[in-house]
């Protein structure tokens, strides 16, 4: 179980003043459940995920994993405790192959398992294992490889940051099936999915809406899905480069 207690985080904004990105977040995530975190862009979703992984340090608050205070643990130590994070925009590496990175993600995994998870995310192992995880891959391919790493890795808490971004519609359905089979009702695992995707949101047991650094809404998917549909109006703001803007009414 993961417990976030009064998490605050600041960053320096462009004008040099500190800006509160997270403002007193209190949340609890149970094992065996699939959670969605949604909300407007810039609301603090990715920052929260990075605080959980240890990439960002909160200015205040505590994080507990299965009762242990992990607030002061490094990224590596949290990874060893079973926390995993799939990046929204994963970095690329010149010289490291997909096989190398899968090997780092799960050193004990057999080659057959590497191949299985690549196939599961819709990539042919023969074509991909020896390729560089570099600029030659598309954004969608990188995202799928990122997902394969997390699925291959033995983790108890997996955070997926917009797994659907850049991925084609056919593959999204495949990813949904994978998420459900790997995490839903699995008593040893918890998954948190940061998403805006209308197909992913309903598969989650609970949906958390984060806006302006606070929890603006929370409920089971059955409770909140109609609420989101009715109360959260998804607009494409005119001449705003197609950016999706959510507004809580």
């Amino acid at each position: 179980m993961l417990k976030l207690e009064n998490i605050w985080m600041q960053i320096a904004s462009d004008n040099g003043e500190d800006k509160e990105i997270l403002r007193g977040i209190n949340l609890q995530f149970e094992q065996g459940k699939l959670y969605a975190i949604t909300g407007p862009n810039g609301g603090g979703k990715t920052s929260l995920a990075k605080v959980i992984m240890g990439i960002y340090q909160p200015s205040q608050g505590k994080i507990y994993l299965n009762g242990e205070d992990i607030s002061d643990l490094s990224i590596t130590e949290r990874a060893h405790r079973g926390i995993a994070y799939a990046f929204q925009a994963p970095p690329r590496f010149k010289g490291l192959t997909i096989k190398d990175v899968l090997g780092i993600a799960a050193p004990q995994a057999e080659p057959l398992q590497q191949r299985k998870y690549l196939r599961d995310v819709g990539l042919c192992p023969e074509d991909y294992l020896d390729r560089d995880l570099g600029p030659g891959l598309s954004g969608g391919e990188i995202k799928r490889i990122e997902m394969a790493q997390l699925l291959l890795r033995d983790n108890s808490l997996a955070i997926f940051d917009e797994p659907e971004a850049g991925v084609d519609l056919w593959t999204i359905q495949k990813l949904i099936t994978l998420l459900v089979s790997s995490y839903k009702n699995n008593p040893d695992k918890t998954a948190i999915i940061i998403t805006h995707n209308e197909k992913i949101l309903p598969i989650c047991d609970e949906i958390i809406v984060i806006e302006e650094g606070v929890v603006a809404g929370r409920g089971s998917s059955s409770e909140i899905w109609h609420l989101i549909k009715d109360e959260i109006e998804c607009k494409v703001r005119n001449q705003c480069q197609g950016e999706m803007i959510y507004e809580i009414k």
Binding site: I75, A79, F93, K94, G95, I104
Partner: protein, 308 residues
């Protein structure tokens, strides 16, 4: 003459040899050929006069054969200079594994200057691998100055993989290539410098024939107080394709200077270059740390992949 454990360790570092390979081989230790054998298709002989060295002739039509010509220096302060000529016959397909390893326990500099001239005849195909490595606890420097002059004739292709693994204090590498009609050349260079080491690489490629193509991929890592200079000049005299790519990772207080140079003498010549020098991206380190590596392990994994 037998090879001892030290010799074999050096040979393994530069040529991945665990014993004497089958086929054509010439192992040179401290200025002398300690093992030499030709094969039916690859003949190795000595050239004498004022430029002593080897003549390696790969017969036309040879298929998938390898010749090993590594050099090792184990006498402290030994200075070695050799002129080798390699001729890859028409339509032959061969691999040459060269390279030099130095073990220096003395106060004097150990130095090997290898001047290699390579001719890949019409339709020939060559893979040339040259790895350099230095070790030892002496105060003397390990110095390696390779010169490679290659001619790739019509319809032939060559790939040169030139690697400086570690432990080389000073190096001046010169590579000159002539690429003829519909010929193809790829040079992959990977250099690691540490401490106060200095490496200079100077590559000049002249694409002389229509439809010729050349590519240079350079990967460099400079650590601590080391210094590297990379110069790649690509000259397109005809309708041709050429590309130079230099990627370098800079660490600590090291310095790298990259000087790409393009010269097109034909309107149909397409020559490009790209260069990037910088430290390891923080997001790359963080990514690998989220997979369970420590920061040091992440740096090592990134460098190992980058220089592989």
């Amino acid at each position: 003459m037998k090879l001892n454990n030290l010799d074999m360790d050096l040979l393994h570092s530069i040529a991945e040899l665990r014993g004497i390979p089958k086929g054509a081989v010439n192992i040179r230790r401290d200025g002398e050929a300690v093992i030499r054998q030709s094969s039916p298709n690859i003949l190795i002989s000595s050239t004498l006069g004022d430029k002593p060295g080897l003549l390696v002739e790969i017969k036309p039509g040879t298929r998938n054969e390898t010749v090993h010509v590594p050099v090792i220096l184990t006498k402290p302060g030994f200075q070695d200079k050799v002129y080798n000529t390699f001729i890859v016959g028409e339509d032959a397909d061969a691999t040459i594994i060269a390279g030099c390893g130095i073990h220096n326990e003395g106060h004097g500099h150990s130095q090997h200057d290898g001047i290699h001239e390579i001719i890949v005849r019409r339709g020939g195909k060559l893979k040339y691998i040259e790895k350099h490595y230095g070790e030892g606890n002496g105060k003397g420097k390990n110095v390696l100055n390779p010169t490679t002059i290659i001619t790739v004739e019509k319809d032939a292709s060559a790939e040169l993989e030139m690697v400086q693994i570690k432990g080389v204090d000073d190096t001046i590498r010169k590579t000159v290539a002539h690429v003829h009609e519909k010929a193809n050349l790829k040079i992959v260079e990977r250099l690691l410098t540490q401490g106060v080491q200095r490496a200079e690489s100077d590559i000049e490629i002249i694409i002389e024939g229509n439809g010729g193509a050349a590519q240079v991929l350079s990967r460099a890592v400079a650590q601590e107080n080391s210094f590297q200079i990379f110069r790649a000049a690509l000259i397109g005299k005809t309708s041709c394709l050429g590309h130079v790519e230099c990627d370098a990772i800079l660490m600590d207080k090291a310095r790298i200077k990259s000087i790409p140079e393009l010269m097109a003498e034909d309107a149909e010549a397409v020559l490009t270059h790209e260069a990037a020098i910088g430290k390891i991206a923080g997001e790359q380190l963080i990514k690998l740390m989220t997979l369970g590596l420590t920061e040091k392990e992440a740096v090592d994994a990134i460098l190992e992949g980058f220089l592989r």
